[in-house]
Assembly symmetry: C2
């Protein structure tokens, strides 16, 4: 095992350090966030920081860095109050990565990457047609993280679109069957291989493997 102490961590060359630190949190979800500005120009950007915040109310959060390419996403969400989150799958992971290029304000990432915008009646924000699991959110709160000037953007889920076959009897969605991808570090993409679902853990009894439908 290599041991890196605090002094060594602080002395690392900045780009090396960014790679190391981005690898530590483990695998990250890969999601495209779709927004629209006041002039109806669509925006699309990949985020690896989307995370579950709660089921009731149904809340999802992500971290925005106001000085990076994220800035159009943040501004649009602040202006329109709505956004979509679209799981990236193995059919368009390279196009999804390309949305992280620093396009200028008038350039639409959908057009630049070949992805297809798709709308539903209840949301002004564009979905990604190619995504097999996606949902619309309304902005609920933006929490400033003062330690590093990032923002935690929290949305409430209003509408869900999902490939029907992936939704199992107990509500679990088999995102592996949708070829949903994940990220490690800054730029490595992966598909998944299931070990198993496990039964609810209780003291004194080891968990057992359960079926995809949630049955023992």
């Amino acid at each position: 095992m290599k041991y890196i102490n605090h002094e060594e961590l602080l002395k690392m060359e900045p780009q090396y350090r960014v790679q190391v630190i981005n690898s530590l949190s483990g695998f990250k979800s890969a999601n495209l966030i779709g927004t629209r500005d006041e002039n109806n120009i669509n925006n699309l950007a990949i985020f690896s920081s989307v995370f579950h915040l709660g089921a009731s109310p149904a809340l999802v959060g992500f971290i925005s860095r106001p000085d990076s390419v994220d800035r159009h996403t943040l501004r649009n969400i602040q202006q329109i109050g709505q956004f979509t989150i679209n799981q990236v799958n193995a059919d368009f992971w390279q196009a999804a990565h390309q949305t992280s290029a620093r396009y200028s304000d008038g350039e639409c990432e959908f057009k630049q990457t070949g992805l297809t915008p798709h709308f539903i009646d209840n949301s002004d924000a564009p979905f990604v047609k190619e995504s097999q699991l996606k949902y619309a959110l309304k902005l609920n709160e933006i929490v400033p993280i003062r330690l590093n000037n990032t923002l935690l953007v929290i949305g409430e889920i209003t509408d869900i679109l999902c490939d029907k076959a992936a939704i199992k009897a107990d509500g679990y969605i088999d995102i592996e069957s949708l070829n949903t991808v994940m990220v490690s570090g800054l730029d490595s993409y992966h598909t998944s291989k299931r070990l198993s679902r496990l039964s609810y853990a209780k003291p004194g009894i080891l968990p057992t493997k359960i079926s995809l439908d949630g049955k023992s």
Copy 2:
């Protein structure tokens, strides 16, 4: 595609809804958080909400639900100001899941699950010996999320322990080679299969696959 509108979402049976909503954010990292209380009793709990917050300073966050099994972790971090995060791998994923059982205060999850505590000089919090990538943190800030009474716990990374062979030339850590696992929904565990690392995205040029060492 199945379309679920807001009314249908609100009417879902609570346990079904928890499964659906927990599937939406995509794959989640699987990490064990190690803490110690004032009486030197070790605690270990699995979290699927650990996420990267920034590289400089090196910050990691996770979400704690004060009324759940997380409560011992939260209390210990508040008391001692230190914790460890240990990536779960395919050699001990079932033991890691078992730490989510509601053990009482005096019961040590290390003893109950067969995992091995390991200490370094600079931290009072226990590492998981079986983990191949782990780090110590000092508590930096606890940000209340008022929308659902959860807490965002933010730590600064002080010390890293990692299998040496997994650290590549540019700092990227090949967590796939460590058999690091991820979670989907509440209880499904997966290993990964790499598609590729991709070059840094720039407007007008499609990203290309790069080597594990970050070379074109």
